[in-house]
């Protein structure tokens, strides 16, 4: 089969082959393909496909992680060649696991999917306090705040963070998306979030909708 370079790059990312993704990204540049073309016509569609397979359970955590690594490896090569606007056309998101909780597998999956969808991702890590989220909003002016919790005991920190954003007068400036094992739609509403997502792909889809509607 005679695949174009863009198709090969797409396949490499979907398959999670980071070495091949790097090689093809470099080759694409050498062949005169514009960086933004590599991103828009191969990388983002590839990550979208990996996310779709994750949501339909053709892919699981390992497959999505390696796809994420492959797109990251390609983007690293392109980053110096692009303006921030080109790289991050989807918007900016501050993401973290909430106070008291150190679990980040789910949060990391969502972060990598956001990046693959063209978001500028400010990853605050784990055990993030309400004050730290408020400070991050003030510093980075994101479109979206994404919060994760694994533990039932820490889930309530989400509510505290959303209240702190409100108290700081910033609630109208950002949309808040929440997720994690003990969460559901009902809790998300109760805590004052704008939306809930139950998997990484749904998080991206919901984030794009929230930002578009803002």
């Amino acid at each position: 089969m005679n695949m174009t370079l863009l198709e090969e790059l797409y396949e490499a990312i979907v398959d999670g082959d980071d070495d091949l993704a790097v090689e093809l990204t470099r080759k694409g540049l050498d062949d005169g393909i514009q960086p933004i073309t590599l991103i828009d016509d191969a990388m983002i569609p590839a990550m979208t496909e990996a996310g779709r397979r994750f949501e339909t359970e053709e892919y699981f955590v390992p497959e999505l992680l390696v796809a994420g690594r492959a797109i990251k490896a390609g983007l690293e090569i392109l980053r110096p060649l692009l303006s921030a606007g080109d790289l991050h056309h989807a918007g900016r998101v501050v993401i973290g696991t909430v106070q008291g909780d150190l679990h980040d597998i789910g949060k990391n999956l969502v972060a990598v999917m956001f990046e693959g969808a063209g978001f500028d991702v400010i990853d605050m890590g784990t055990d993030v306090s309400p004050a730290e989220v408020v400070a991050a909003i003030e510093e980075h002016n994101p479109d979206l705040v994404a919060l994760s919790a694994l533990l039932t005991t820490t889930m309530l920190s989400m509510q505290a963070i959303i209240e702190a954003i409100d108290t700081a007068g910033l609630r109208d400036d950002v949309r808040v998306l929440v997720g994690g094992a003990p969460m559901n739609e009902e809790r998300a509403k109760e805590f004052g979030a704008d939306a809930y997502a139950d998997n990484a792909n749904a998080a991206v889809r919901t984030a794009l909708e929230l930002v578009a509607a803002a």
Partner: protein, 427 residues
């Protein structure tokens, strides 16, 4: 053959054995605290002691990673517990529970911890714990200032692909020494004296359990110790994973022979592995990956146990694991825990109907994510009665909450659980 003395009342044990044999016992048997995945947070144990009016005493944190409290015999009696755990003396942080001293949790509760439970508070106010109680090693666990449990601190040395050696991921696994076997025997004798059924947690047999991968008990771990890197390895380095599992099983089989040589068939059930395959709505890996990487090794361990002992094998996996149930049965597991009915495709009726002939459900009794911590005592009662009805019919059920009862759970709700099981048993 057992060496139990005639004067020990074995009603509790018989009840559990009947349930494990898929026959309906006189009552639904209850476990709390038999394993590190069916326990109760130390703060709730303290609350329960107070509720039941038991002798005031500090509760021992016998499992520091999840801060599980030891349920002493008086509380077991008050709660009607039928199971006794033989969990080993070494903790996940690599020190032994040999002697006890008071310690105040970050939330101000006085508890008892092992002498080697060595911690410091960092500038964030988090509590850091040292592996093997060695303060000169980097800490291996962190309890956030507002948290209630430790989580592992990943200490991942830089990975040089060409230098990766599976031996580095095996440092924590070794043959049991004579002294370890002596301890097992002593602990087993004490457990037998209670007349309860005995579940033992066998050391070193958890394959790829993400709680153990970072090696919280080692001072300077080598190999693949980062959680994400481990998951990546399932896809990128499956041969490495296979070689780790194969070598681990080789050690495990030798240890099984040593343990069985010492304790014989006096264990009723054994927990070998708590690797989680389920997430809330899906799975960590595909069934194909499970069959490829885990099944052959699980089968080796379980086959040895079934060929040489009367022990029932206990598998813990959180989350939505319906898709793995047939594989669990096929590779020789007899008991599944914690039966997370709140996860996708894990409805109690469905599980009992499809897998109840082949698997004992040890758990599933009440939802610890929603109903138990946040519901009313009436809601708790209703759920417990319903789960006892569904899972208990025809035996094959040991009552336990879905995983450990967490910090912050209202004591009256835990009491409502116990009362509801007793109510079910009376009717």
């Amino acid at each position: 053959m057992t060496n139990q003395t005639p004067e020990i009342d074995t009603t509790c044990r018989d009840r559990v054995l009947t349930a494990l044999d898929h026959r309906e016992p006189d009552r639904v048997p209850i476990d709390f605290g038999g394993t590190p995945v069916s326990g109760i947070h130390v703060s709730v144990v303290a609350g329960l002691r107070q509720h039941y009016g038991l002798e005031p005493r500090l509760v021992k944190v016998h499992e520091p990673y999840q801060m599980l409290g030891l349920i002493d015999d008086d509380l077991k009696q008050a709660m009607g517990i039928d199971v006794e755990g033989v969990v080993g003396r070494e903790t996940m942080f690599g020190f032994r529970n040999d002697s006890w001293r008071p310690w105040a949790t970050p939330h101000g509760l006085e508890v008892l911890v092992s002498d080697d439970f060595q911690t410091m508070v960092d500038d964030r106010g988090d509590t850091l714990i040292y592996p093997k109680g060695n303060r000169s090693a980097p800490p291996s666990g962190r309890m956030p200032k507002t948290g209630f449990f430790f989580d592992t601190i990943v200490r991942q040395p830089p990975i040089e692909e060409a230098q990766l050696d599976p031996v580095d991921n095996l440092e924590e696994y070794d043959l049991l020494a004579e002294a370890d076997l002596d301890d097992l025997d002593t602990d087993l004798r004490e457990a037998e004296a209670t007349g309860r059924a005995i579940i033992a947690v066998l050391p070193g047999m958890a394959l790829g359990d993400i709680a153990f991968v970072p090696a919280p008990g080692l001072e300077h771990p080598r190999g693949i110790r980062d959680v994400t890197e481990w998951y990546v390895s399932l896809k990128k380095r499956p041969d490495y994973v296979r070689r780790v599992f194969a070598a681990q099983v080789e050690i495990a089989l030798e240890n099984l022979a040593l343990i069985h040589g010492r304790v014989g068939d006096r264990y009723d059930a054994v927990m070998t592995c708590g690797t989680d395959f389920g997430t809330q709505t899906s799975a960590f890996c595909s069934v194909d990956t499970f069959e490829d990487l885990w099944s052959p090794y699980y089968r080796q361990i379980n086959d040895w146990i079934h060929d040489h002992t009367t022990w029932k094998t206990f598998k813990h996996s959180c989350g939505s694991v319906e898709r793995f149930m047939r594989s669990f049965v096929d590779c020789g597991f007899d008991i599944i825990n914690p039966v997370q009915c709140s996860a996708t495709h894990m409805e109690a009726e469905h599980l009992k109907r499809e897998y109840g002939r082949d698997l004992v459900f040890w758990g599933g009794g009440v939802d610890t994510q929603h109903t138990l911590p946040f519901g009313s005592p009436d809601e708790v009662r209703e759920q417990v009665l319903s789960r006892c009805e569904v899972f208990g019919t025809g035996g094959g059920f040991v009552f336990n909450a879905i995983h450990n009862i967490q910090a912050g759970t209202p004591v009256e709700n835990v009491v409502a659980v116990v009362d509801a099981v007793q109510e079910f048993n009376r009717n």
